[in-house]
Structures are given as structure tokens and as C-alpha cells.
Symmetry: C2
Amino acid sequence: MEFELIRLASKIFGAKREDVIVGAGEDDCAVVRVGRSNLVLTADNLHEKADFPPGMLPEEMGHMALAVNLSDLAATGAKPLYFLYTITLREASKDFFVRVLKGMKALAEKYDVAVVGGDIDFGDELFISGFAIGTADRYVTQSGAKPGDKVCLTGLLGKAQLSLEQLFSGIDRNEIAYPKSLFTPEPKINEGVEIARHANAMTDISDSLAVSLNLIAEKSKVGIVIYEDILPLDHLTPYVDEKKALELFLYAGGDYELVYTSSQCTHGFEVGEVVEGSGVWIEGKHGRNKVEFRGYTHF
Amino acid sequence: MEFELIRLASKIFGAKREDVIVGAGEDDCAVVRVGRSNLVLTADNLHEKADFPPGMLPEEMGHMALAVNLSDLAATGAKPLYFLYTITLREASKDFFVRVLKGMKALAEKYDVAVVGGDIDFGDELFISGFAIGTADRYVTQSGAKPGDKVCLTGLLGKAQLSLEQLFSGIDRNEIAYPKSLFTPEPKINEGVEIARHANAMTDISDSLAVSLNLIAEKSKVGIVIYEDILPLDHLTPYVDEKKALELFLYAGGDYELVYTSSQCTHGFEVGEVVEGSGVWIEGKHGRNKVEFRGYTHF
């Protein structure tokens, strides 16, 4: 449903002005031309019931709100510059508010992002919307993948969802496998800027590798084949069986790694290749099977 | 409480980079320098229970989400260029979503604003956060008012709140006094850009004239005197008595007019003057009385 609505929005706001290079719903970010700069713009919405794992600290909520937006900029190869947020608080607690902002600030300082604005109000559920602005000399979209490209990943997948499932099964947050992946995922800012120098297509993995690759395949009008025997699952198999590990790797979200296609995997490792045709496929001991357009980030 | 939290946020994000000219919580918008352009940035959050009057149409919600952000840009004297939104829908209704976006689009086209991005999810309450970007050669803040300046208003006040109170008293939305002020307020975009050429201080009136003038007085370190006998109340007195009309004019919000201080009132009319000292005062048949720091936009 979400993707259907995005397509609708893209149609409604489709007529583009000359200065709008990448418009609404087309990609991870919009790209517009102001003066001599390519401005890269993105907006992301988080709310308690859908996006914050149980037991998440206020500092981690602030971190997360900024991280998901920076990850979109990274996916386009942009250097982040500015961030604004809107926040709806459940209670007029100064302490809670300050802790959210401190989490945001710590991540902002790490990547030299200036938090320049915010809007605060009160309601029944905690909401944080974020808006990030960056610049890019060369930006990369989801639509440039070419047959012959390698498909590369900046890091391991499935860690956030594995940790979330452990949390839901009653394991304490100090005992889950990858708490950092779940509570304070790191946007791949520097990697994104460097990869953008050579990649033909790129996106981040917020929903799942499956969703990201299907978007690249669809928009680039190519096929993608993933090779099962080169997918690293060793970080998952101590906790789940191999079938579940593969499911997590392909269909789980929340790790905020980058997937890109290029002639070379300069960052991270290779998982497959771009081919003529359409669709996303996994080749392994069970033959060649379709990788479906689905993910599960929200709980 | 909201203003206290804004001050806290301003302190937390206070250390400014060289390219940040007006930072978090300082004014209606942030102003940053990218290349040779002054980018003007703002974010505003609206949600159903606090910001949308009963019976508001989806198109009007879309209009409102964009209008409040454009009004902030107008208050800084910026020409609007781009808009992004995040929306949380209560139900997966394509029709509702499309109507919200069409309302947004109609206003966007009127002022040549490109809607370049959005994020869509689902929850228990309708939320729309907006993020607007503009540019300004000369921008105006709340902190430049000078003793001797005239205090000017671009239009009449109290119409939105009067109409809201009529609605709550059971009057049909087709019969209330100023439905356009309540449901589709018009941001003063062109006025803002023109006024910015000469004004010393400016802001929009989202909460109330009282809040806006107190912010200008506080940040400009001046006093402001409003003259009761020149305040136009004729648009309110057919519906309420004179005391209530004055209360609405001073303390009601939602009309999204601009208030500015300058040597000349080029747009709209004069309501008072900037003086040495501090505080906001109203001078009239009951002598000189303090204009309190309060408003009531939310219901």
C-alpha cells in the first residue's frame, strides 16, 4: 500500500520544474539545483508504535530520527549539511525532550550536521519527523544499474531484525545479539559519498535487501541475480537456523547499510550481479528463485 | 511550555557553524548560506486533534500543511521554492490521500512551489509535517525592530478564531463568518518578499498578535505600543461585542497575516509603534495596559 501511495504522489506532483532534477517519489531523495549546487533533500517520519522498539531510550529515539534521514542522503551520495525536525511529545517532560535532543546532537556532531530548526507540540503518541539537506557533486539514484555491474553491500544484514525478535521473545536488551544495530544504527555517510564517485545505482536498506534490489531492478529496467553461496550468514547462524538466517538477510530491515551496483565493490563485499531482463533472483542449492518485493521493518 | 522547550532546543543546538546565519529556535526560519544563496528553512507539524477544525475537508488539510510553512517563509521574506511532507494516515484510503495531496498541489502551483518529496505511513491519528525551503537576498528576523519604527499589519485579525468559535457553537460551516480564514488561510508570500526590502523586523501571526509582538519586543530589546483607537474591529463587531472583538484581535491565532516594523507601512495598515524600553502595551480608553504573552490557536 505504501508503495502504491508513493506512486500516486509521484503522479500528482509529477510535472517538474527545470531546477528539479529528481522529484517526489522517484528515489531516496529529491535533487534540486540552487545556484551552482545540487541540493539533496529528504523527509522521514518515525512514530512510537511503528518505529521505536520497546525499551528504546529517548537518546536512541533522537539518534534514530536523524539516522534514517542521513541514511537517505548517504544512499544518494550526498554530504549532509542541515537537519530540521518536528516532534510531538506525549507529555510536557523537559527531561525526556532534552534526552531526545541530546541523542540527535551526538550523531549530528559526529557528521558535522547543523540542526537548524524544529517544531514542538503535544499529542497522544510520540512522533518525530525529520528533514535533511545535503549537497552532492555526483549523486546516484536507484535507476542507473547496468547489466554487468556487480551488486555490492556495505555491511551485514539481518542484525536489527534478529535483535528485535530476540527482544520480543523476552531476552533483555543487554543480552540481545546486536543492540547497536537495533537501537543506534549508523548511517553510512562517508561510504555513500565515496561510493557515489563510481556507482551506477545505489540505495539504502531500510525495508529489506529484497525491497531495495526490486526498486533498483524496476527503475533501472534490469534483472538482478544474488548468489546464495557468497552471502555472509555467519553473524546470524549462531542464533537461528540457516533457512531463517537467509530469510533475515533478504527480507529484514533496519540495518541501514547501502547496496550499490558498480564495476567494483570498493566498500563491503559482492553479493550478486546485474543482468539483462527483469526481476530479482537468488541462485543457490535450490536453483534460481524469485526474491519477492517485501520486507518487515515495522512492528 | 512550548516556548520553554524551544529555548532549551536553541541552547542544545546553539553552537553555530559559520554557514548557519540564523539557527535553531532563534526565529520563524533558519537561514543558512550555501554557495552564493541564503537558503531559508522551516518545519511545521500539524495533527488532527490539535490543528484541524471539525469538518475540515482533506483538500483543506493539504492546503493548511503547506500554508503554515509558506507563512513562515513569508515572515522571513523568502521566496518559496521546495516543499516536502511526511504524512501519517489513519486508514489506507487512496481517495483521502489523493484529496490531501490535491489541496497541497493547488496552493503549491499558485506560488510556484515544487513538492519534491514525502514519506507516508499509518497510525492512529492523522499527522502532516511539512518542510519548506526558500531563498532570500534580504531576509528579515524578529530581532531588528528599532525605536521609532511603525508597527504594521498586512490584514485583519481574529477572523479564523471567530469562525472556529462559531463552528463550535453549532453554526454550519457554510454559515460561519470567515470560512476561508479558518479552512484555507492564505500565506502572505508576495507581501513578505516585498516587505523584506525595507522592514527591520517581521514575523507571521500563527499564535496571536500578542505572541508575535512579544517575540519581536523581546528579541529586538525594544518596547512596542499598540493604539486601541486605530485597530480595525469592524469585521468582528457584527458578531461579538467590542471587548471580545479586541480580545480576538490581540490574542487569537490562525489568520497568518504578517506583522512588521518599518519606517513605512507599505502593505496593510499601522497599529502602533516601536519605543525604547521593553514589553508590549496597548494604549486606549482604559489607559496603558500590558499585552500578555499568550494566544490560542489550538483547540
